[in-house]
């Protein structure tokens, strides 16, 4: 079995997290922003699972499982909102929603 050092884990999860954050900031499609948020959650999951294994406890792994469930709930609500936006405005580009400002 290959032992992966904790710094590698942190590096990978941080890379994943940065991709997610950049995606949210750069992409203008609401669906892709949702996917990038999922990336951010999964980056955290990697940390949780790896460090739970590192310390030999299961609490972190249980936390990660719960986070997956929560991510599903979040996506369900997010997609419902995106659908209602599409019905209203025929677009899912966030740049096109600019009714409220000031």
């Amino acid at each position: 079995m290959i032992m992966v050092s904790m710094n590698t884990v942190l590096f990978i999860s941080f890379t994943l997290f940065s991709i997610g954050v950049l995606g949210v900031l750069i992409r203008r499609n609401a669906l892709i922003i949702l996917m990038c948020v999922e990336l951010m959650l999964n980056a955290a999951n990697i940390n949780l699972i790896a460090f739970a294994r590192h310390s030999g406890t299961v609490a972190g792994q249980a936390f990660a499982l719960l986070v997956m469930g929560l991510a599903a709930a979040e996506v369900a609500i997010g997609l419902a909102l995106v659908v209602s936006l599409y019905r209203k405005k025929d677009t899912v580009q966030v740049d096109d929603i600019n009714l409220l400002k000031g």
């Binding site: 959650l41 955290a44 719960l66 986070v67 209203k88």
Partner: protein, 488 residues
């Protein structure tokens, strides 16, 4: 099955700590349950409002009678702070239901889902204020926020409601991603051993290796996540849009209940959990507090819409309340913030009740709509004046007292510069609050005849203004009472 048995035993032992939450879950689920709605099909929809208020009152009674204890593997703690903030959240829920009944009836938008979402959201808040573990805090925050996202977009036929809910949702989900990553970094800094707030400090100290960077970035990300939730500058950009687009009762709800719950969690996390690593968050949090006071109050100057103005003013108020978090002394801080939040709740509920009343006449959105209200509805105008002056913190009203108490705590703790900024900005804030008063008293009213005032509006406005007017006379007594509640 030792595992199942242990689970059952711990549930049987600890579920008494969360009886109000279980009650709310049962009620909310039953309301959504198809059979339940079939059975009650003949019932007019707005009866659900009474049902919801009854359930909330019952859960409030349970909150008061919950024993003080820690349970669920140290993840949930009931003490004075928990109970005090739980009662605030429930009161905000009751006020919201009362505020919304009339308007939702007029829009023919009454539905079971609206009330059950409010109930679920409040159950999340009740969990959040008692949560003592980063895990339970994260899930409680999400339970609370997910329901509010839907509530903001509740009037899905209105374009601006949909837009507001999308903006709120995307930024909220983004912030919860940051919050979770921060939690995972802190978990990593402890070497993967604990997320419990009480044990965090020790675990970080014991963990091998140099963890400074992990702790710093983790604490900073948790701070950012919570700053999003309470809408503090520079993470406030969702708040004015969400406030303006949401149905007005939901706007009132958002400005009261989730803020109270998130601030309670803020105090618990930073006062208890991150107390030992204070040098990492004192400076960023001071910056956030100062920026919220300054930017929130200045941006409120040029707003035409009263909902946006109240949104920016609530950003400013959050800045003041963050002084209580900065106090480090989590008991005294919680006491001051609790008192501030309680008076804030009454001021907001009253002000929004009047905005909703004017919306019944197709106005109330813009500050100009308050023109000449003193001639048309002298009592309402007087009450609005009380709310505005109290928000501004003019001395005889309770709003002054709560500000005074919070600022005094900040001075005792040595935040002189921040207190000076708070004083200056709250003096500047008087300008835009008084602008509303001037519109009501010194401008001529329009032609339209004023609509009748519904009984709910009357009751809320009377209750809130009475509390604000009479409260100061009983100041010392109230402070004793708050002390008793919060110190448990």
């Amino acid at each position: 099955m030792p595992f199942a048995q242990a689970l059952w035993e711990s549930l049987a032992r600890d579920s008494r700590l969360v009886t109000p939450v279980i009650l709310l879950w049962l009620a909310g689920t039953l309301m959504l349950w198809p059979l339940g709605s079939l059975l009650l099909k003949r019932m007019p929809k707005d009866r659900w409002a009474f049902f919801t208020v009854a359930i909330l009152l019952l859960s409030g009674w349970f909150v008061i009678n919950t024993p003080n204890a820690i349970g669920f593997a140290d993840m949930f703690r009931v003490d004075g702070v928990t109970k005090g903030f739980q009662i605030l959240c429930i009161a905000a829920g009751i006020l919201t239901v009362a505020l919304g009944r009339q308007q939702l009836g007029a829009l023919k938008e009454h539905s079971v889902e609206y009330y059950s979402l409010i109930i679920f959201s409040i159950s999340g808040m009740l969990l959040l204020v008692g949560a003592t573990d980063l895990v339970s805090i994260y899930f409680a925050v999400e339970l609370m926020a997910l329901c509010v996202y839907i509530l903001v977009g509740y009037l899905r036929t209105q374009e601006r409601a949909v837009e507001a809910s999308i903006k709120y949702f995307l930024l909220g989900a983004f912030s919860s991603g940051i919050l979770l990553f921060g939690i995972s970094l802190i978990f990593a800094a402890t070497g993967g051993t604990t997320t419990n707030l009480e044990r965090l400090g020790q675990a970080i100290a014991l963990a091998p290796g140099n963890q400074d960077l992990l702790v710093f970035s983790g604490v900073l990300m948790v701070l950012i996540g919570f700053a999003f939730k309470v809408a503090a500058v520079p993470f406030h950009m969702w708040s004015p849009d969400a406030y303006e687009g949401a149905p007005t009762p939901v706007t009132a709800f958002m400005s009261m209940a989730p803020k109270a719950a998130a601030l309670a969690a803020f105090i618990r996390i930073f006062g208890t959990g991150f107390n030992g690593v204070a040098e990492n968050w004192i400076a960023p949090l001071s910056f956030i507090a100062a920026a919220s006071m300054i930017l929130g109050n200045i941006a409120a100057f040029k707003q035409q819409s009263i909902k946006r103005m109240l949104a920016y003013s609530s950003i400013g108020h959050v800045g003041y309340m963050l002084l209580g978090v900065l106090a480090m002394d989590s008991q005294a801080g919680a006491q001051a913030v609790w008192f501030y939040m309680m008076t804030y709740l009454f001021m907001q509920a009253g002000a929004f009740a009047i905005v909703i009343y004017l919306q019944g006449a197709n106005e109330g959105e813009r500050i100009e709509d308050f023109k000449g209200l003193a001639k048309r509805r002298p009592l309402l105008a007087f009450a609005m004046m009380v709310f505005m002056l109290s928000l501004a913190g003019i001395p005889p009203l309770l709003g002054f007292f709560s500000k005074f108490y919070l600022f005094r705590l900040a001075i005792i703790e040595g935040y002189i510069t921040l207190t000076v900024i708070a004083l200056l900005t709250s003096a500047a804030a008087a300008y835009y609050y008084l602008n509303v008063v001037a519109q009501m008293y010194f401008k001529e009213p329009g032609e339209a005849a004023p609509p009748p005032v519904c009984i709910c509006t009357k009751a809320i406005v009377a209750l809130c203004s009475a509390v604000l007017l009479v409260g100061t006379a009983f100041g010392p007594w109230i402070m004793d009472w708050v002390g008793k509640i919060v110190w448990g």
